[in-house]
């Protein structure tokens, strides 16, 4: 187990190193010149050149990359070109909000997805099942922007149950968490449904019926605990999905997370911020996957770590 863990951690570090290189190359190849974004439209060519010099943008690619990598390893992500603030501070100020939203979304998608999956499996091929599966299909395919605006309009504007965007109280988090969790709820309901149907057809369930156990007891004690295992392992992988959804959801609800920060940085070619946000999200995704792989054998001994 220990050797496995060390190997996986090394692999993760290599993946992250690869991501820094690829992102750096992509940003290097973008024709837009960050020095010109900083210099503004009234700047002379000399001013732009001077800014390029100061930022080290005239150095060869590998010199720039090496400089970035060595500072990164010392925990220095540099300063934003446009806001001039430390990138680490900008991210630190926003990361808690994003994490909070992510946790709330995971709770939402699990509650919604598992419930729907269980009900659908128990009512297999009946109208309730069809209805719920259509719902899950819609939730997988509907654009998050549209869902967000729709929820805002109905529950915040018309009914006035929740605030119209913003951050601070429990009421603020409900709508964004539902919007973000909606997509995952669709996936989970489908997975839970098929997993339940699998388990329902197993011999031990038939045995339980034969023993004369009550239906509720069979489902609660025997079927759900067995069906839920493969789902739990999926949560780690979800983090990648959330990272992309969070940009949209945060912008609809005015949620002060890193998605919002990333969006603005991309608009303005603020390379240190783009690199910083990419690194933080990549780390979260890599850790999420690692966690999923480590947790799976713990909850289901049939899965072995290799």
């Amino acid at each position: 187990m220990q050797a496995y863990l060390v190997r996986r951690l090394l692999e993760s570090a290599l993946i992250l190193l690869g991501i820094t290189l690829v992102t750096f190359i992509l940003l290097y190849l973008v024709p837009a010149d960050p020095a010109r974004q900083i210099a503004g439209r009234s700047a002379t060519a000399e001013t732009v050149q001077n800014i390029r010099d100061q930022l080290g943008l005239n150095d060869p690619f590998f010199v720039q990359y090496w400089r970035y990598l060595t500072s990164l390893l010392q925990g220095d992500m540099g300063r934003s070109y446009l806001q001039r603030a430390e990138v680490s501070e900008l991210i630190a100020a926003r990361l808690p909000a994003s994490l909070l939203l992510m946790v709330a979304a995971i709770v939402t998608e699990l509650i919604l997805g598992l419930t729907i999956g269980i009900v659908a499996a128990l009512r297999r091929n009946r109208p309730a099942d069809h209805g719920l599966m259509i719902f899950s299909f819609v939730s997988i395919s509907a654009p998050q922007f549209v869902i967000g605006i729709l929820l805002l309009y109905v529950f915040a504007v018309q009914l006035g149950w929740f605030p119209i965007g913003g951050y601070g109280t429990f009421a603020h988090i409900v709508l964004p968490a539902i919007t973000l969790g909606f997509l995952g709820a669709g996936w989970y309901s489908r997975m839970m449904r098929s997993s339940m149907i699998d388990v329902l057809g197993q011999d031990f369930v038939r045995t339980a019926h034969a023993k004369g156990l009550g239906k509720a007891r069979i489902v609660l004690r025997h079927v759900i605990p067995n069906a839920i295992l493969p789902i739990i392992a999926m949560i780690g992988i979800d983090i990648g999905l959330f990272m992309s959804g969070i940009v949209v959801v945060e912008s609809v609800f005015g949620w002060p997370g890193i998605g919002q920060l990333a969006w603005q940085a991309i608009q303005r070619v603020d390379i240190p911020v783009i690199m910083g946000v990419t690194m933080v999200s990549a780390t979260a995704i890599v850790l999420g996957n690692l966690l999923a792989d480590l947790v799976a054998p713990l909850i289901d001994p049939r899965i072995k770590t290799k």
Binding site: G40, R41, L90, A93, I164, V269
Partner: protein
């Protein structure tokens, strides 16, 4: 009633009409307002902030020696009590008002003026505004990182500063009214270092009370502000991170007062069609021109007749309709609200038949193929399609290259990349209300360089010389002659047709019922979206 202000009025007449008298300076103080924005505030450092969102926020936090009468383009003294210009126009002497202090309580002295100007022009500050101060003596060496300051800026005594220019320049008063010329306290800048933009200390009507990244920025009244009875509001809260659509919902629910990003295009007709809401919309001109650049150094646009033909081929009324009438068709580089605008100029009227004829005479009876670069954010691709169709009418096949803003700017800055660019989303908005501001970087030879903003790569040395002459005409007595000179320069630019001026965007500022003030404050040419210092709370009255 929708209120219409400042459209189609010649600049000079405009400034005369709109004196400060219209602004109710006696309105009672108190109350607060909420302004919403989608993007976080980039910085509040006056030497660095250069987007339309932080521009007017910085104006309320900081003061320069000069400023404008609220709601107008008329210069007035701000921190200066006296401003005198020498006979030859090169020595500008400012006397500071007595007893004015920074937010930290320290009195402002002439040393602060010198420090602030040197900070902006110091290459290490990397200020996007440094170039505006090129006329100050000693700028070139200081901005190149040599010497120990601007030799042209001399502190005479505690309250007097004398600025010597290397050439007479009529725009210098405007330059001193730019945010980049704001006076900052050295001790606060040095204490904060690169974080001064997050911890700004100025002498403006408001001071920063709170900044929660991605959530809100709060301004609070500065009690010792140097103007009596101002600002009107006790507090302004900028709520950050709200999509314009969501901001509008908030406003409709009474939870916001001004949507800083404006009325979202998709809801524009709905808002204007609802009398309760359109009553609170104030329309005004903007120092903005949207144009198509025709690269004069790339064939076939190196042929002036081709450029003229393209000018006649574009149906500007239709383009204005595409954006729901939120603009007025343009026929020259200057917008109608800019002093120097030529009211009687007719431009190239829409006439596709004649355009086709001209194109044939120029040697392209079957048209040609070209590319039209455009920023990939709505409505610009739709506008590009309209332009594409218009060009098709006269036989020109234009392929649309829809790219991210920074990439279009990069292509425009290369001599041989972009034959045509639709400027939408990147168009010129004046830095200050003077006709010269529409020339140098976008139409002058100095901008037609790699990485420049003169995307038509138009360079007419005769016009450059005349522009320099016009800017040397200092003094009140020459003001009219100078405006006439500039008017003629832009008409001569149009004779060469490096651009197709398409429209001038109009501003439509929506407010809640709770905020009051003269209409001009809501479409102030310098303060966008509103003049924060002067608008008042109706509840406080």
């Amino acid at each position: 009633m929708k209120k219409l202000l400042m459209t189609g009025v010649a600049g000079l007449a405009l400034t005369a009409h709109m004196g400060a008298a219209q602004v109710n300076e006696d309105a009672a103080m108190g109350g607060s307002m909420i302004v919403t924005y989608k993007d976080d505030v980039a910085t509040l450092d006056p030497a660095i902030g250069y987007d339309w969102q932080n521009w007017s926020m910085i104006k309320s936090l900081f003061d320069g020696l000069m400023d404008y009468e609220p709601g107008t383009t008329t210069l007035r003294n701000e921190l200066a009590s006296e401003y005198t210009i020498s006979e030859v126009g090169t020595v500008h002497t400012f006397k500071l008002k007595d007893g004015i202090t920074f937010h930290n309580g320290r009195e402002i002295t002439a040393e602060d003026v010198k420090y602030s100007l040197e900070r902006t022009t110091n290459p290490e500050t990397r200020s996007p505004g440094a170039g505006f101060f090129g006329m100050i003596e000693g700028f070139d060496s200081w901005n190149a990182g040599e010497g120990d300051g601007l030799s042209g800026v001399k502190v005479i005594d505690d309250k007097t500063v004398e600025i010597t220019l290397s050439r007479p320049d009529a725009t210098f008063g405007h330059v001193m009214a730019l945010n980049f010329a704001s006076i900052v306290p050295k001790e606060a800048v040095e204490a904060s270092g690169e974080d001064f933009g997050r911890e700004p200390v100025g002498s403006g009507a408001f001071k920063l009370a709170e900044w929660s990244p991605g959530q809100r920025v709060v301004f609070e009244r500065f009690e010792d502000y140097h103007r009596e009875n101002l600002p009107k509001l006790d507090q302004i809260t900028f709520e950050i991170g709200l999509e314009p659509t969501v901001a509008l919902l908030r406003l409709q629910q009474g939870q916001a007062d001004i949507p800083g990003d404006g009325i979202p295009p998709a809801q524009f007709l709905q808002v204007m069609g609802d009398p309760a809401q359109s009553e609170n919309v104030i329309e005004g001109g903007q120092l903005h021109t949207g144009y198509i650049t025709l690269n004069t150094q790339m064939a076939p646009f190196d042929n002036v007749d081709v450029r003229k033909a393209v000018n006649m081929a574009i149906n500007k009324d239709r383009i204005v309709k595409i954006i729901n009438g939120r603009a007025v068709p343009a026929n020259q580089p200057l917008p109608p609200t800019m002093p120097g605008y030529a009211d009687d100029y007719e431009g190239y009227a829409y006439d596709p038949a004649k355009a086709q004829e001209m194109l044939a005479e120029a040697g392209f009876p079957d048209g040609f193929k070209t590319e039209l670069f455009v920023m990939n954010v709505d409505p610009n691709p739709r506008i590009a399609q309209a332009i594409q169709q218009d060009l098709k009418e006269i036989g020109i096949t234009a392929e649309i290259r829809s790219l991210a803003q920074a990439n279009v700017i990069a292509a425009g800055g290369e001599a041989d990349q972009a034959p045509m660019i639709w400027s939408g989303g990147m168009a010129w908005i004046a830095d200050f209300p003077d006709p010269s501001n529409f020339y140098g970087p976008i139409l002058g030879c100095s901008g037609a360089v790699q990485g420049g903003w003169n995307w038509a790569w138009y360079c007419n040395e005769d016009l450059d010389a005349r522009a320099a002459e016009a800017d040397a005409m200092t003094g009140e007595e020459n003001a009219q002659a100078r405006l006439d000179a500039w008017r003629q320069i832009y008409l001569d630019v149009m004779a060469d047709a490096p651009w197709v001026p398409v429209f001038n965007e109009q501003r439509f500022t929506l407010t809640s019922d709770a905020i009051g003030g003269d209409d001009s404050l809501f479409v102030d040419p310098v303060h966008i979206p509103v003049h924060y210092d002067y608008v008042y709370s109706k509840d406080a009255q």
